[in-house]
Amino acid sequence: MSENLPLFPASADADRGDAPQRFFFNGTGSEYFRIWIVNLLLSIVTLGIYSAWAKVRRTKYFYGSSTVAGSSFEYHGNPIAILKGRIVAFVLIVIYNIAMQTSGRLALFMIVAVMAIAPWLIWKSLQFKLYNSSYRSIRFGFRGSMIEAYKAYLLWPLLALFTIFLAAPFAHQRMKQFQHNESRFGATHFSFHASVGSFYRAYLLVFFIWLAGVVAISIGLGGAIMAFIAAIRTPGNPEPGGFIGFFTFLFALYIWMFVLFPIFVTLLQNLIWNNTQLGAHRFTCEMKWPRMVFITLTNILGVICTLGLFMPFAVIRMLKYRVESMTLLPAGSLEEFVADTQAQASATGEGMADLLDFDLSL
């Protein structure tokens, strides 16, 4: 710990200037591995009940390991609240899966019901997550209204769906605008300034990179596809070589998706945080996509080769890179944020949102 000290301002006065403050992440894979395996065992032998406590411990470790301007973050989530949320989510998932098996009207009803309830869940989850996070003993908070949550998480996504995703960048921008504009640190508001146009540019760039990759793969494996087409046109037993070529082609496309996703994450996280402000303070985010692609692919390989034991190391590597790509650009003192005394948050939502697998970070 002590070797990190010189990175932090030595005293309270040091951060009064406008010097950029980098984010640091001090967690290590080997320590997280130990936390992970012990809590995994407890979660399994308690049939999942302990997983709520495991989640709190894990999140506390991540928050406590993240520092900016010499201070770390803290997580205050209550395991009982998370357990309740998880039980509700578990029951919903069981009902949903049974409904899916029956086909027909009940399944359709469940899909509509989940779509109708999801925005409310995300809204509650945002309140819970932010209210239970603090920095320098000042809690974060979330103030957005339910109506706005339904617009951001139901209306705009539906619009995206009905426009064959032409409106997806717009919907994404509205979603982040809602999340970031309504977030607070104490009594100070965050604000979000990325335009719809900038989201379209990012999406278009990802689309063209994807297209270029597909064209390259098609040229490289073009012969294989021709062989496959020839094989299915020839009556009688298809030639196995054609199939192998075709599967190689599909496999290459699949791998390409793995490479593309971190590029997407990089562009979006940079766009989002370079256009977010806390009061007058700004952020920069300088993730590089080659590094992200490298981390993602080696993580997947590591997890597969170790039958999952590399998981906690993979999580820490990714988190460290994403956190340490961020810098806070203070516009004046960081000592003058004031707590919001009326802040409250209900505890529903959180457990459900994390079981239903919403990633709210992008």
Binding site: E74, Y135, E335
Partner: protein, 329 residues
């Protein structure tokens, strides 16, 4: 002994340079700010090597420790002890033990525990629940992949009567009916949990004789009698839940691959069990097992072997199934 650190008062984000010391069960903050507080009202964050440690006051003010080693000595002096879980997390011996236990619980649970629990649960469950699950399925299949059978009604009735007159290998046969259909996806037969066994014209045409058709029907009745659908449903939900617990904070793609592979093992087990059921049924009714083996061979000739390799396929290989029949003779 005074510990260096920063104090935050919970009202503003100001970082006060301060020290923490303990005298007579009271914590004393001094430096840029002065405060005292009884020890038993304070919360101490769990010990980790790399995350910062904090002491939290009842009003949410906090003290962030800079000198971790000195702080740990102070905790020992004041009689504070880490929970067992925290101590296990911090020791490699405890971690390795946890790893070994986790592996043991997962492997035995997967191979023995879960199949047993699923079996008991599925058989204790009223049949009506299982039936209601698939009530709409035949309608759906009729629209998608099935068409009305072109087999003469007399032949359908004869087959059904012959099969229902046979002795089942064990008591408690669930109510079932045999449904004849024409198939758009080639020769096939399958059982729905609602108790309908679907037999396709194409499969009847493919088989050399009625004994072979009967052995397929017996296999499908085995799925119904052993409550395979309900068991699979319970097993795959449990596998999905455990995989989510383990890989939950990585990507969904990573989590899906093991789930499918683990689930297919259960599928092959169910097929073996249904084959055994059919073998017993044929034996009990004096039908030669060679007919069943021949039926499998004909099916393999017609639709080929699953190319995905044994760990990903839903059925055991035809060679293995025929070998099993020969061993039963």
């Amino acid at each position: 002994m005074a510990i260096q650190g920063f104090y935050y008062d919970g009202k503003t984000s100001r970082a006060y340079r301060a020290t923490l010391s303990v005298t007579d069960g009271v914590a004393i903050i001094s430096g840029d700010v002065e405060r005292t507080c009884p020890l038993d009202t304070l919360r101490v964050s769990e010990r980790t090597r790399h995350a910062k440690r904090k002491v939290t006051f009842p009003d949410e003010a906090s003290f962030e420790v800079e000198d971790v080693d000195a702080f740990e000595n102070m905790l020992i002096d004041t009689g504070f002890s880490d929970s067992t879980i925290v101590r296990t997390q911090q020791s490699w011996r405890g971690t390795l033990l946890a790893l070994a236990l986790t592996a043991f619980v997962l492997v035995t649970g997967y191979l023995y525990g879960l199949p047993m629990i699923a079996n008991v649960t599925a058989k204790a469950m009223p049949a009506s629940i299982e039936r209601s699950i698939s009530s709409g399925m035949l309608d759906f299949l009729d629209k998608q992949i099935l068409a009305p059978s072109e087999l003469p009604v007399a032949r359908q009735t004869a087959l059904t009567e012959r099969f229902t007159a046979m002795h089942p290998p064990k008591e408690g046969v669930p109510a079932y009916s045999i449904v004849y259909r024409k198939s758009k996806i080639g020769p096939n037969a399958f059982a729905l949990p609602s108790g309908q066994i679907i037999m396709t014209d194409e499969l009847i045409k493919l088989m050399d004789n009625d004994d072979q058709v009967i052995s397929v029907l017996a296999h499908e009745l085995g799925h119904l009698h052993e409550r395979h659908l309900m068991r699979r449903l319970i097993q795959s939900s449990a596998v999905g839940a455990v995989v989510t617990l383990i890989f939950g904070d990585a990507s969904a793609v990573v989590a899906n691959i093991p789930t499918i592979m683990l689930d297919m093992h259960y599928s092959r087990e169910a097929e073996r069990e249904a084959d055994d059921y059919a073998i017993d049924m044929l034996k009990a009714n004096g039908i030669a097992l060679t007919q069943m083996a021949r039926g499998f061979e004909k099916l393999k000739e017609a639709i080929g072997e699953d190319p995905s390799g044994s760990y990903l396929s839903s059925h055991p290989s035809t060679a293995e199934r025929i070998e099993r029949i020969h061993r039963a003779q």
